[in-house]
């Protein structure tokens, strides 16, 4: 976690943004512009479930953001419906069911660790070389009729076709 603390980008986000949750929140908050969705545009909704720390950090980021079309944060989302991004935290016990709600919708489902991608998840945070990265399962992304920009994919630790 010390490497995270040293990261200049995340450190710049604010004096308190020092935890892994803050980094995850910052990533989630920034994914928006890199997602191409068939759903109508406008202020995207960021849904969080099973990780209150990340939810809290997101809410803080949204508060500090002065942009007009800044994302809306929704805690404890029970389903993927209406969410541009759905983050499934470690504490979520019904992950599989939640993933099902995203089928056919246009929600980017983000979870924790690589196995999540095999379970139908699209983006997963992974810790590698004491630094937070993310991997992408492109097949699952396509199945949701979404497109991730190459600019984002460039930064992915692993992209599964």
């Amino acid at each position: 976690m010390l490497a995270l603390l040293a990261s200049p980008v995340l450190a710049a986000q604010g004096p308190t943004a020092t935890s892994a949750s803050d980094v995850k929140a910052a990533y989630l908050y920034r994914f928006g512009p890199f997602i191409e969705s068939p759903a109508p545009t406008g202020a995207p909704t960021l849904c969080v479930t099973g990780d209150n720390a990340v939810a809290g950090a997101l809410e803080r980021l949204a508060r500090e953001d002065s942009a007009a079309d800044k994302p809306v944060v929704k805690r404890d989302a029970g389903s993927a419906a209406g969410c541009a991004i759905l983050f499934v935290g470690h504490d979520e016990t019904h992950a599989a069911a939640l993933l099902k709600t995203a089928d056919g919708g246009s929600t980017l489902v983000v979870g924790e660790d690589a196995p999540f991608l095999r379970a139908g998840g699209m983006v997963a945070f992974i810790l590698k070389d004491r630094k937070l990265h993310f991997s992408v399962n492109l097949a699952n992304v396509r199945a949701a009729h979404l497109k991730l920009s190459s600019e984002l994919l460039k930064h992915a630790a692993e992209v599964i076709e």
């Binding site: 990261s7 200049p8 980008v9 995340l10 450190a11 710049a12 980094v23 990533y27 920034r30 512009p33 890199f34 942009a67 630094k131 600019e151 984002l152 460039k154 930064h155």
Partner: protein, 499 residues
């Protein structure tokens, strides 16, 4: 006169070719220097502007590509973005900084020093030049927020190389242009200077050797020069023609002169021959006349002697007249013989005391001057180189003439003198006799020419002709000064006979 210097050496300012070369080179140099000094700053400024533009584009590209790397804290992607700069060898170093001004990713060309770990974030977007380096500062903005900075250090070596290349090209152009100018000058030399040199040399030849046969080879490469050469040649032709004409006429005159001289010589020879013939004729006639005359004289003498008393008065008178006539004729024949003999006689000159000669003559004139009052005035005369016998003839003639033509004077004055004025002495015989009109002076020395009637003053008219003959034989001169009734003075000089 120093004379032999080549025409071009004698005049300052160099040849046409040198002048042309100098002028052309100066013009080219000036043009190039002007062009270079005008283009050089423009070139540098334009070069800097181009670098600025390229650098700005590069910095913006890096900023754009680095945005997501910064957003997702992907320094590897940041490095990769920067690595693209490798393609531009002018990039010395580049770096991406976080929005806090701390180094995020860096790139440096091999052997170059990396950029600083932190930067002053207040620079904004700018391109600055310092020395051989340009620096680009670019802010990275994402969705209205500054997320980082790009810095690029850029070498302007290419611009320097371009400038050096520009200068080298200018120098090359200069060299080529000067070489071209030299070639052009050489051509102009051929077209302009050569004909002029030929002209000058031809003019020199003409003036030194007065040789009008030289011609300048016609050259029509330059109009005026060609015209000048043609005119010069035409002028020479005219002069030559006139010169030849002059020569021809001089030769003609010489021929004419020779012809004249030849004719004069011929005529002289003819005249001399005639003269000789005449003399021979005179001599033989005189000689042949003597025999019959002697017979007339002899028999008339015997007639007077034997039959004189038997003749009456008239008969005696006629006989006397015959005797007188015979006498006169005898004298005339003697004179003529003398004159004729002179033509053949060679001079036998020797030192002669003229005073002695004069004394002897005066003594001999005693019979003629009997009963007369004659005042003789005699200068002492020098010893001169002459033929004494002939000179006695001269003086006898002159003195007896003086005695004869002073006969009407109660007191005759006869002066014999000499004038020494520089050269040969001039002798004179002066009398106060009847004289004569000077307009007849020329007749005086001709044979048988007389100014007085024989019954006034006896004479044969041969005496002065003989005198003149003798004087001329002595290479001398005789002339007379006289006035009617006031007397006459005969002058003569004898020169050219070595003493």
């Amino acid at each position: 006169m120093t004379g032999e210097a080549a025409p071009t050496e004698r005049f300052r300012g160099g040849t046409i070719r040198q002048k042309l070369t100098r002028t052309t080179t100066v013009v080219i140099l000036t043009a190039l220097v002007l062009a270079t000094s005008a283009f050089f700053p423009y070139y540098v400024i334009a070069g800097r502007r181009a670098i600025s533009r390229a650098l700005t584009v590069q910095a913006q590209m890096i900023a754009l590509n680095a945005t997501s790397a910064l957003l997702f804290d992907d320094d590897r992607a940041g490095k990769e973005t920067l690595a693209a700069l490798k393609a531009d060898h002018n990039v010395i170093a580049a770096a991406i900084y976080s929005n806090g001004g701390r180094l995020f990713a860096a790139y440096e060309a091999p052997g170059s020093t990396p950029l600083a770990a932190t930067i002053d974030t207040s620079t904004g977007d700018a391109i600055t030049f310092s020395g051989l380096t340009a620096a680009a500062s670019q802010t990275i903005v994402s969705r209205g927020r500054t997320v980082g900075y790009v810095r690029i250090a850029y070498s302007v070596r290419d611009l320097l190389v371009d400038v050096v290349r520009f200068l080298l090209i200018t120098a090359a152009v200069l060299v080529i242009a000067v070489f071209g100018a030299l070639q052009a000058a050489r051509r102009v030399q051929r077209d302009l200077s050569d004909p002029i040199t030929q002209l000058a040399e031809a003019a020199l030849t003409v003036s030194r050797k007065t040789d009008y046969s030289v011609r300048v080879p016609p050259n029509h490469s330059v109009g005026e020069l060609g015209m000048l050469i043609d005119t010069f040649n035409a002028m020479l032709s005219q002069i030559q023609a006139r010169d030849e004409e002059l020569d021809a006429s001089a030769r003609r005159y010489q021929r004419l002169n020779e012809e004249l001289e030849r004719r004069v010589a011929e005529r002289t020879a003819e005249l001399q021959a005639i003269n000789k013939e005449l003399e021979a004729f005179t001599y033989s006639v005189s000689h042949d006349l003597r025999a019959p005359l002697r017979r007339i004289d002899g028999f008339s003498g015997m007639l007077a002697e034997k039959y004189g008393p038997q003749l009456d008065q008239d008969g005696a008178h006629y006989l006397t007249r015959i005797r007188e006539g015979t006498l006169v004729m005898g004298r005339l024949i003697d004179d003529l013989l003398n004159l004729a003999r002179l033509g053949r006689k060679e001079l036998t000159p020797r030192p002669t005391d003229l005073g002695v000669v004069v004394t002897r003559i005066i003594d001999g004139l005693g019979r003629e001057s009997e009963g007369r009052t004659i005042h003789w005035k005699r200068d002492p005369l020098p010893i001169v180189q002459c033929d004494p016998a002939l000179m006695e003839v001269v003086l006898t003639n002159l003195l007896s003439n003086a005695v004869k033509y002073t006969r009407p004077r109660e007191e005759a004055r006869i002066e014999i003198g000499v004038q020494q004025n520089g050269g040969a002495p001039t002798f004179f015989v002066k009398d106060n006799g009847v004289g004569f009109n000077m307009k007849y002076a020329e007749k005086l020395f001709g044979a048988f020419q007389r100014l007085h009637r024989a019954d006034e003053f006896e004479g044969t008219g041969v005496g002065l002709a003989t005198v003149q003959r003798i004087i001329h034989k002595h290479n001398g001169r005789i002339w007379v000064d006289a006035e009617l009734n006031k007397g006459a003075t005969f002058y003569f000089s004898i020169g050219g006979i070595p003493a």
